[in-house]
Amino acid sequence: MFRPLILALAAGLVLGPAVPVHAQDPEARAERLRQEVELRFAARMKQELGLTSEQDARVRSTMATYAQRRRALEMEERGLRQTLARQLRPGIAADPDTVGRAIDRIAEIRVTYMQLMRDEQRELATVLSPIQRAQLFILRDRVLQRVQDLRDQRPGRPPMR
């Protein structure tokens, strides 16, 4: 008589863990939000610049290529900043060679970053009108400025740019 109840309870216990726990993971939530920002940025870009489908595809492809290169630079710089933070802890003698190499490399990365931005602009100029390029510049600058402000506002983090 109680077989259905027992079977159902057993099924519940087995299926319980199938609840998408990963969806509640803060990292997964952050990734979802990051994708939302990317999607919204792409949508705004298409609308505000009045891109045709062909332009949209080409612009995204160009930007994605340069984004990968910028990502590599950003990662390297983050690693160097951590090195500097470790070296410059109060009360611990810093290794001048390590600090010197890190700061020189950060300076090189900044130059490379700007060169990439310029190369990207040249490539975008083959797809977009000057006005569209300027609109894209302003749109992206607004996002990057906000990102930088947020990084600067982190506790214990002096502004570095």
Partner: protein
């Protein structure tokens, strides 16, 4: 930005044209993604079915339903004991599932299609920071363009903008 519950309560009235947003409320909606999304749903929802009354004969439908209810004999729902047990089992499963589910607001899992990464600068930002970034990118069609138009710039001003771009 913190969601404002009183705004939620006023949304139906505003959507139906019975009330209007105050300046402060409008300002909050412009800055709070959560409230703006809720307002979008209420606004669109209130417009659904508008004009349907012209095509749907309400009086005829009401008469038909009441006549049928009066003519049909009432049916008493009788369930065998075994069904009651199955129902209780289903409720137990539901309770187990609810109790085992993690608490906190849910986020939809990432979409299957990969999103093209155009902004690597977002890497390493936390949830709160990403929500702040979203605020500078209003959803398309929600508000007007936020990038200033360049059509009213003079040639000199446009050249200055281009010089900035080209370094």
């Amino acid at each position: 930005m913190t969601p404002a519950p009183h705004l939620s309560e006023r949304m139906p009235a505003v959507a139906l044209g019975e009330a209007r947003w105050s300046g402060a409320e409008r300002e909050h909606l412009a800055g709070c993604a959560e409230c703006a999304a809720e307002w979008e749903v209420v606004r669109i929802g209130s417009a659904l079915g508008r004009g349907l009354e012209g095509e749907f004969d309400v009086d005829r439908a009401v008469t038909g339903v009441t006549t049928r209810l009066a003519s049909e004999p009432a049916r008493v729902l009788r369930m065998p004991r075994r069904r009651w047990l199955a129902l209780a089992a289903a409720a137990a499963v539901l309770a187990v599932a609810v109790l085992r589910a993690p608490s906190g607001p849910r986020v939809e899992p990432a979409t299957a299609a990969p999103v093209q990464a155009l902004l690597p600068e977002l890497d390493g930002l936390g949830e709160d920071e990403l929500e702040q970034v979203l605020l500078v990118l209003p959803a398309v069609n929600r508000v007007g363009p936020t990038v200033p138009g360049l059509g009213d710039l003079s040639e000199d001003e446009l050249e200055t903008v281009l010089e900035t771009l080209e370094g």
